[in-house]
């Protein structure tokens, strides 16, 4: 089905990143909303990779350092994300342990894997189908925000549990690192341009076309 219609980029038409209106890229500025026009998001892959490396670096302290410190009757207990999840699992709260595992550990990790995969495919090092990758991209964009749940839990607990000598909770350094992971992966997903995946398909199609032509002659 691709190839029956010309693609916008070959006609010099750019879809506005903000409002979606297609106008000639030579105009420079979208006539409808005034945003800058680009055929594709500028330096999309470089930006995504850079943000993702930063996120991957923060992923380690986010999981090692304590996200909050509970002081109960003089006992200091620093909990990490994994420790909090294990406590839930041991006490029999399996569904909530699974929710925390998915939101805090699995989603950030899968997101980084998915974005690496997308960047590799967009730069031509892998050749899976773009419609599958499009779904992968949509998924990473949709799920990323749910990882913030742990930060919100820390905020709620710190605000509620201020019981003087009996029990207090303070946020730990791991929470900042974790918030950094979530924010950076969200920015990474936003700076990725899924149209690059379809561009790659066009290149492959043209290569195949030229191959069949050369074998004909």
């Amino acid at each position: 089905m691709i190839g029956q219609l010309p693609r916008a980029a070959t006609l010099g038409m750019a879809g506005c990143h903000t409002c979606g209106k297609a106008s000639p890229v030579a105009q420079g500025v979208c006539p409808r909303c005034g945003s800058h026009l680009h055929l594709r998001k500028p330096q999309s892959i470089q930006r995504t990779v850079a943000l993702m490396i930063a996120a991957a670096a923060l992923y380690i302290p986010a999981n090692i350092l304590p996200v909050m410190t509970v002081v109960e009757l003089g006992d200091v207990d620093a909990t990490t994300i994994v420790k909090g999840m294990v406590t839930f699992w041991r006490s029999g709260a399996y569904p909530i342990a699974l929710v925390i595992f998915t939101a805090s550990i699995l989603i950030p990790f899968l997101k980084m894997v998915a974005l690496t995969w997308l960047c590799l495919a967009a730069s031509g090092k892998l050749h899976p189908s773009p419609s599958l990758l499009g779904k992968v991209y949509w998924f990473t964009e949709l799920l990323g925000r749910w990882s913030m749940v742990d930060i919100f839990v820390v905020g709620i607990l710190v605000a509620l549990v201020q019981l003087g000598n009996y029990m207090t909770i303070t946020p730990g350094p791991g929470a900042i690192a974790f918030a950094g992971v979530v924010l950076l992966t969200m920015f990474a997903a936003l700076s990725f341009d899924p149209r690059l995946l379809w561009d790659r398909l066009e290149v492959i199609r043209l290569e195949e076309l030229s191959l069949t032509k050369s074998s004909d002659t």
């Binding site: 219609l5 909090g84 919100f152 709620i156 549990v161 029990m167 900042i176």
Partner: protein, 184 residues
């Protein structure tokens, strides 16, 4: 395209454009409700906890302030941005853009506001905060007795309204209507 129908991409089958029923009126109405609920959320306590004969109560601002006071100002600001600023910006922006559009008018600067609406949308984390509330309730279950305040129920309604307001209007449709209204 008739109201209540959608166009699909021939290439990958994704939805291209949807003309949803009474989209502008719906987006405005749900956004106004969300704003009213936002006031309720801030006036009434969100959660009330009784432990060791001390009663502490939580609302959105106090959660953010507690993080700032306890040595994590960045987290406090992040929490306030995602649960207070982003929903208010989104709801008020939708009212400002969609309200006048119902009558075929464009509010001054509506194009800029609409541009910012696109950008704030992914940062509105009302529903994620609600999941956070549920997780913390389970964590506190052993330590203390926690009650829901009116703020909590208002926040639930707020979440539904925000979802309905954002889902009720198609982005491309909104831009098309803005353009048409501006020309006339």
């Amino acid at each position: 395209m008739p109201e209540g129908t959608a166009a699909m991409c021939k290439c990958c089958g994704a939805v291209l454009y949807q003309n949803r029923c009474a989209s502008l009126a719906r987006a405005t109405a749900f956004s106004i409700t969300a704003m009213i609920m936002m006031v309720v959320v801030h006036v009434f306590p969100f959660l009330v906890m009784d432990a060791a004969s001390i009663r502490t109560s939580l609302n959105l601002t106090s959660a953010a302030m507690a993080l700032i006071d306890e040595g994590s100002p960045i987290l406090g600001v992040v929490l306030a941005l995602f649960t207070i600023v982003a929903p208010i910006a989104l709801a008020s922006g939708l009212i400002y853009v969609c309200g006048p559009l119902i009558f075929g008018r464009v509010a001054p600067g509506a194009m800029h506001v609409a541009k910012w609406l696109n950008r704030t949308e992914p940062w509105n984390m009302v529903e994620v905060f609600l999941l956070g509330v549920l997780v913390s309730l389970l964590k506190l279950g052993k330590v203390a007795e926690v009650h829901f305040g009116y703020g909590f129920w208002a926040f639930c309604i707020l979440m539904c309204c925000m979802a309905a307001a954002v889902a009720g209007i198609d982005r491309d449709e909104l831009w098309d209507r803005l353009e048409v209204a501006k020309k006339s």
